[in-house]
């Protein structure tokens, strides 16, 4: 019964979405208030129906109802409750349901909190939002129904992929989806603006919070995924440039560009066409990401061959959404007139530069991701262009961007004096040199790029602080005055400062962990010691045990430095009862300078165990930097100007009727 309720709620949501996609849009085009007004209740209703549907699936998982195929394939009675719930979105069908749930959540948020939006823009944006929803509902109902029954009913399920049975990964997909789907709002507003034919400061101000929220979630989602890979995969790595990661990274790059260019639209009334295009691209990348990651259709020929209907539907959906919006852009885009003029050396110029680099980077990642997939699709087999491709393309692109990131914020709008700006940054330059020298002395054998990375981190970090001190007139005004300015600083400005500072710290972490990782792989017998980066890892021994749905071998290590005890680490190797698949839980001790990291492998013929021991420098900086960026974004989101709405003169009250 529960499964049927969930299924019917989904069908009803489709019908509501069809109404919402057409009626308000026609109303906005023909100036009928009542038709437009339908968008808000429809959006809220959709969310209600989806909540029912999602609740039903969750209920089926919690009660282990094995008459539902989806539950059979991804759950098991012995699984802890948390993973029964996480299992709901740990598969293709369920994750799509989560996707549309979040989509409807954003839609209803616009309906509820969008009281100060012009009715025409709101009606059109919600219609566009509903069009996306229609595509997804159809996809689910026709090809990927999570409520499909199975008969005869199996006695137990096949369990969730053990790698996914982890608290970090349980909350990772919802977070990532909040990011992906969040960009659908910017997309819907962009399409609405194209239909309306106007983009102004007010528009940018309405779009910004949605973009910012999506960006924060996506940043968090990527960070969480990376953290999970770090402690769960047991290779001491945190970024592998695999399609799944790239799929989340591409919308992040495009979204970051969008975040910056929408500022230009808001403040300077220029770069309009570009901003609209970025909004379309950011969401297109999210769509691509959703399918690359979850459907398994594009990552594997095999999955595609077993169900061609899905592949064709996905391709069709992508063509309609992305192709349609780009066609609309080609048609209506030239009508968006920018009024603000600027010189190449100016804040606008710097932001445009940042946009171009980020877009190029996103394009490069796209190429590197799709190329092997396309090759796979035409029968070339699975290949990996791997980190060498991404590192040689991506890193050189980032270097000029980081350099410019430091200069951009202290340039003035319209026209700036580059030399004056660079003169202000002498201290940052000095800091970069000192940091590079220090890195050189401390780690002479690492790659040159490591030293460059540390220099860039110092340059960006110090330059961001210089911008802050300049803003509050530290050192040039009395201290009390500076303090007053510091308190009065708008939260959006704090957002930028923390965002940039967070990136600087994260770059230092990524550089440290990437360039100076110390790794030692060997076979050890209990009692033996290995020295890794000055730390003595002593293998104490192993003991076996049982988890809720797995058996485990736990190895303990004692770590000392120069004879003094540092910490005791436990590393686990688990084998899950149902799937018989092993996973490893690394033992990690985090310190300011780096992580001590131990992984236990199989027993070998000589009676010893294969152990992998690492010293991963500055890893915690990476997580701290990501958290700081998220915090900066959230702070900016609470800025007063997002709450009070746009200035009166921009608010086109008459436009709704006149459009």
């Amino acid at each position: 019964m529960t499964a049927e309720i969930g299924h019917f709620a989904l069908i009803l949501a489709l019908l509501v979405a069809v109404m919402q996609a057409t009626v308000p849009l026609i109303g906005a085009q023909t100036g009928r208030q009542a038709w437009m007004a339908m968008a808000r209740p429809a959006a809220v209703t959709q969310f209600g129906l989806l909540a029912i549907s999602f609740g039903c699936l969750t209920q089926l998982y919690i009660t282990s109802d094995f008459s539902v195929l989806n539950v059979v394939m991804n759950s098991h009675t012995d699984k802890p409750l948390l993973y029964k719930v996480a299992g709901v979105w740990g598969n293709h069908e369920g994750s799509l349901l989560l996707w549309v749930l979040i989509l409807s959540l954003f839609g209803s948020a616009v309906a509820v909190f969008g009281a100060n939006l012009p009715p025409g823009l709101r009606a059109r944006a919600l219609s566009v939002q509903a069009m996306i929803a229609v595509g997804f509902y159809l996809f689910m109902l026709l090809t990927s129904n999570p409520f499909e029954r199975v008969f005869p009913v199996p006695i137990n399920g096949r369990d969730l992929n053990p790698l996914l049975q982890d608290p970090g990964l349980a909350i990772h997909p919802p977070m990532l989806y909040l990011g992906y789907v969040g960009f659908s709002m910017a997309f819907s507003f962009a399409i609405a603006a194209l239909i309306e034919g106007r983009v102004d400061a007010a528009w940018a101000r309405w779009v910004r919070p949605w973009t910012l929220a999506a960006w924060c979630f996506l940043t968090g989602g990527i960070g969480l995924g990376s953290w999970w890979a770090y402690y769960e995969l047991g290779w001491g790595g945190w970024w592998f440039w695999d399609p799944v990661e790239n799929a989340s990274f591409m919308p992040w790059l495009a979204g970051t560009a969008l975040l910056h260019s929408s500022t230009v639209v808001e403040k300077r009334d220029t770069l309009k066409g570009w901003t609209i295009l970025l909004a379309i691209i950011a969401f297109s990348m999210s769509l691509l990401g959703t399918f690359l990651v979850r459907s398994g259709v594009l990552t594997s020929v095999h999955a595609f061959a077993t169900d061609p209907a899905r592949g064709v539907f996905i391709l069709g959906l992508l063509i309609v959404v992305i192709g349609g919006s780009l066609a609309l852009f080609a048609w209506r885009g030239p009508a968006l007139v920018s009024t603000g003029l600027f010189k190449p050396v100016s804040r606008e110029g710097a932001l445009l530069f940042n946009n171009l680099v980020l877009s190029t980077a996103a394009a490069a990642v796209l190429l590197g991701t799709l190329y092997p997939l396309l090759l796979d699709a035409i029968g070339g087999g699975k290949v990996s262009v791997g980190p060498p491709f991404f590192n040689t393309v991506f890193i050189p692109l980032m270097i000029p961007m980081i350099i410019a990131m430091a200069i951009g914020p202290i340039l003035s709008w319209k026209r700036a004096d580059l030399m004056a700006a660079i003169n202000k940054l002498w201290l940052a330059f000095l800091a970069a040199l000192v940091a590079m020298a220090a890195a050189w002395v401390l780690r002479s054998e690492g790659p040159l790029l490591g030293i460059v990375g540390i220099g860039l981190a110092a340059w960006l970090g110090v330059a961001t602080l210089i911008e802050l001190t300049g803003r509050i007139r530290m050192f040039s005004a009395p201290f009390g005055e500076s303090l007053r300015r510091l308190r009065g600083m708008p939260r959006a400005a704090w957002g930028m400062t923390l965002g940039h500072l967070g990136l600087a710290i994260a770059i230092a972490g990524m550089t440290g962990a990437g360039a100076w990782k110390v790794e030692s792989i060997q076979s050890m017998k209990p009692g033996e010691s290995v020295n890794v980066a000055g730390y003595d890892f002593t293998f104490v021994g192993v003991k076996s045990g049982q988890g809720p749905n797995y058996s485990l071998v736990e190895a303990s290590f004692r770590i000392t430095q120069g004879g003094k005890p540092v910490v005791a680490l436990n590393a686990e190797k688990r084998v899950y009862n149902v799937s018989k698949r092993p996973t490893s839980e690394a033992g990690i001790h985090t310190m300011f300078t780096g992580d001590l990291y131990a992984v236990i492998g199989d027993k070998d013929d000589s009676g010893g165990y294969v152990t992998r021991l690492y010293f991963n420098p500055l890893v915690v900086w990476m997580w701290a930097g990501v958290l700081m960026m998220m915090f900066g974004g959230t702070l900016s989101l609470t800025d007063r100007r997002h709450r009070v709405g746009a200035p009166k003169k921009h608010q086109g009250v008459a436009q709704a009727a006149g459009a």
Binding site: G323, G380, E519
Partner: protein, 179 residues
């Protein structure tokens, strides 16, 4: 100021991609032809992995009258990890000499990888810059070539070797060429 073309360009780029996708997704999976099939192996000499105990090899080693297998691998390549067990299995059968081409790989990481998973190769050449890989037409890792007794490339396998491809393709090809 901005020409209309700039607004059309994104749509055109997407159109090309969509066509590429459509063609790619509707085609049946089949083996990609290689221009090098039935051609002699390209000339090269590769040093061993720096710091390792293995020796390097050159094109002359592939022309010594044995059937040989050249496997392109790297420690950063995740599919290679999956493939490694089957390469080892093939090596243990001793029906062909197996050479490893370590593609664009850091020496330390490659050695650690071999230490962890075992080293089934008769010799490993370190192609640090990927120059030799270009001559072999390598465009992704892993790839595997089978070379006949005269030193001609007779078979190319793209992607990781699995039990099925090993049993149904690689081993039969080696057996045919050995006769």
């Amino acid at each position: 100021m901005q020409s209309r073309f700039l607004y059309i360009l994104p749509g055109l780029v997407f159109l090309v991609m969509a066509i590429y996708f459509a063609v790619g997704l509707t085609k049946d999976p089949k083996i990609l032809p290689s221009a090098l099939i039935n051609k002699p192996v390209p000339e090269f000499t590769l040093p061993p992995i720096e710091g390792g105990s293995n020796k390097g090899f050159s094109s002359d080693d592939l022309k010594k009258g044995n059937v040989s297998v050249l496997n392109v691998f790297a420690s950063w390549c995740i599919p290679c990890r999956a493939e490694h067990a089957f390469i080892t299995q093939l090596a243990e059968m001793k029906i062909a000499r197996i050479y490893g081409l370590n593609y664009k790989n850091d020496a330390k990481e490659a050695l650690a990888w071999l230490k962890e998973l075992g080293d089934p190769y008769a010799a490993i050449g370190a192609d640090t810059k990927g120059r030799v890989g270009i001559d072999w037409g390598v465009y992704g890792v892993p790839e595997t070539f089978i070379i006949d007794v005269q030193g001609k490339i007779r078979y190319k396998h793209v992607g990781p070797i699995k039990q099925k491809s090993l049993d149904e393709k690689i081993i039969p090809v080696i057996r045919t060429l050995s006769q």
